[in-house]
């Protein structure tokens, strides 16, 4: 275990270094002068020079990479082109909204997807199993923005029972939840289907195991066997996909936040792409990637700890 953890950590370190180098070099790909592109051709030369200096674009490329690393280690990801605010503080104000959105939809997916999968697995071949099979694959393939737009259309525009835009205020929890509901559902749709199918498959496998037969032969009630003995082992594979899932959630969050005008990280990245505010794009994308890497690392370790079988193999 320790050996595995150490190897995984070293690999992750290299991955992070590679990610950061890539993001530091990204601005080199801009055709033409990135600063002129933002400030416009009529901007005074002194302003252009000073912005260029602030972004280290007047230094040679290796030095730019070095400064990006050195400053990032101090929590400094540069400053907003326009407002001169620090990128880190912009990200800090946006991040909680995205984190709450992601966690809410993950919880929603678990609450709906797992029982759906258990039900399908305990009634294999039945018409409800078939309906769920078609429903889950339709949910899985539905992009988050389609789900978001359709929810917006039905609940906010047609029936106008839900707020269409905005984040709400955290000091008013009821209002905040009301603003959270539709975005969280839109983001959860794929994962409800995915979890349902995953739990169904692994549940069917577990229900074939001998210990389940043994439990059944002792006359333990069916429901108890399924929910207490089988489900516990059947949900283990879902832990492994939660890490990957969070990546898709963070990717989907950008669409959902744009559609419902939520002031999250995705919206921040989207807005700064529109205004070509490269320091924010770079910082925001870096934070998304680091979050994804960290969650993957964490779920990997948890997975290894809860499932002794994998521990032996590795």
């Amino acid at each position: 275990m320790l050996d595995y953890a150490l190897r995984r950590l070293v690999m992750t370190f290299f991955v992070v270094v590679l990610i950061m180098t890539f993001l530091a070099l990204l601005i080199q790909l801009v055709p033409g002068d990135p600063v002129r592109l933002v400030l416009g051709a009529k901007a005074p030369e002194e302003l252009v020079q000073s912005v260029r200096h602030d972004m280290y674009l007047d230094k040679p490329v290796p030095a730019q990479v070095y400064y990006f690393f050195a400053n990032a280690l101090h929590g400094d990801l540069g400053v907003d082109f326009q407002s001169q605010r620090s990128v880190t503080s912009l990200i800090w104000t946006a991040l909680p909204h995205t984190a709450i959105l992601a966690l809410a939809s993950l919880a929603l997916a678990g609450l709906l997807g797992v029982p759906l999968g258990v039900y399908a697995a305990t009634h294999p071949g039945g018409w409800l199993d078939r309906v769920t099979a078609v429903a889950t694959i339709s949910l899985i393939t539905m992009p988050a923005y389609v789900a978001g737009l359709l929810l917006l259309l039905v609940f906010s525009v047609h029936w106008s029972i839900m707020p269409a835009t905005g984040t709400g205020n955290l000091s008013n929890p009821a209002d905040y939840l009301k603003h959270l509901a539709l975005p969280a559902i839109a983001l959860a749709v794929t994962w409800i289907g995915y979890l349902a199918r995953l739990v169904r498959t692994s549940m069917l496998e577990v229900l074939n195991e001998r210990y389940i037969m043994a439990a059944r032969s002792q006359g333990i009630r069916d429901r108890l066997v399924v929910y207490k003995y089988a489900l516990r082992n059947a949900v283990i594979p879902t832990i492994a996909v939660v890490g990957v899932g969070l990546g898709t959630l963070l990717g989907g969050a950008i669409f959902v936040e744009v559609i419902f005008a939520r002031a999250g990280l995705g919206m921040l990245i989207y807005n700064s792409i529109q205004t070509r505010n490269f320091p924010i794009v770079r910082g925001g994308v870096l934070v998304v990637a680091l979050l994804f890497v960290a969650v993957n690392l964490l779920t990997d370790f948890v997975y290894h700890m809860v499932d002794p079988r994998i521990r032996v193999v590795s």
């Binding site: 690999m11 991955v15 393939t141 923005y145 737009l149 359709l150 259309l153 792409i273 890497v293």
Partner: protein, 308 residues
């Protein structure tokens, strides 16, 4: 006797090379079409292909023809899906949008496959330091959610058809590299590969004759599964205004237009959503059926389960 029989069979398979491949493809399609999900997938994809090839014949109007007087209308006999904010016929735009969806998705997935195939074969076959470097590279690409990576790259490169294809290809490549790498490592352990190595076969010969046939089936499945993802990413990028530039009728662009006028007319969103959902569902169903048919291990467990 057994050897002779096997030789005879091998010769029979090899003799009509093109015909053999075609019959095998025919058998595969029949096998897929026998399952309801597979049949659905095949029908959707055939329809899509017809629409893509014959778009100018099928579409009632030009996708760019504006008719400001009749803007933002609901479905009618003149405009089956209604019109958008410039009075353009939505049905025609959805039909021409299929060209963009497949025109981006297929080249992007092919790029991903070729890059992944090359990286996976090399890193899986050579192992050691090369392998480690390749793994870190794949992990780094996959550390970004595909959409975010595509967005970041397009933000600096600027949106264009070519850039969208390349960027989606790059984001999807590690999936192929991983599969190919794992299969290569497994195939390398086979005794027949060892035997040929000891006979002095070249690396290229082993790669082409022994590794590629082994990884063809999983690659096929992965392609069918990735095309809907690529379509979804393309439309997503277009929705955010970073896809194939306007006025081209990408389904994502239709969604974006519909979103801007969501309070006035829902039809652009409905039409484009339906096209997107039907297409991704069709490809996903085909991919799943292919996996069941091509992977005897998986389909075996499924059949056993069905009996009980």
């Amino acid at each position: 006797m057994a050897v002779a029989a096997r030789d005879g069979k091998a010769a029979a398979v090899r003799a009509p090379a093109a015909g053999g491949a075609l019959t095998r493809l025919g058998r595969l399609i029949r096998e897929v079409a026998r399952r309801p999900a597979g049949l659905f997938g095949l029908i959707v994809i055939c329809l899509l292909l017809v629409v893509v090839v014959a778009a100018p014949l099928v579409a009632p109007y030009s996708p760019y023809a504006q008719d400001i007087v009749h803007r933002l209308q609901g479905p009618s006999l003149h405009h089956l899906f209604g019109t958008d904010e410039l009075g353009r016929d939505l049905l025609s735009r959805v039909i021409f949008g299929a060209r963009i969806a497949l025109g981006v998705a297929i080249p992007a997935v092919l790029i991903a496959m070729f890059v992944g195939l090359l990286t996976g074969l090399i890193s899986g076959y050579l192992g050691g330091g090369t392998d480690q470097v390749a793994i870190v590279g794949m992990d780094a690409i996959q550390a970004f959610p595909a959409v975010i990576l595509a967005l970041a790259l397009l933000a600096v490169l600027g949106p264009s058809l070519r850039n969208v294809v390349i960027v989606i290809g790059v984001a999807l490549a590690p999936g192929y590299a991983r599969v190919v790498r794992a299969m290569t490592r497994a195939a390398k352990q086979n005794q027949y590969v060892e035997a040929e190595l000891s006979l002095g076969a070249s690396t290229t010969r082993i790669a082409v004759h022994h590794l590629l046939p082994n990884i063809a089936a999983p690659l096929f499945i992965l392609i069918a599964m990735d095309i809907p993802s690529a379509i979804a990413i393309e439309a997503g990028l277009a929705f955010l205004g970073l896809g194939v530039p306007p006025p081209s009728p990408s389904w994502g662009a239709l969604l974006a237009d519909g979103f801007s006028y969501v309070l006035i007319s829902p039809w652009a969103i409905i039409a484009a959503s339906a096209a997107l959902m039907l297409t991704t569902l069709g490809f996903a169903m085909l991919g799943e059926t292919l996996r069941d048919v091509l992977d005897p291990k998986l389909s075996g467990t499924r059949r056993r389960r069905k009996k009980r």
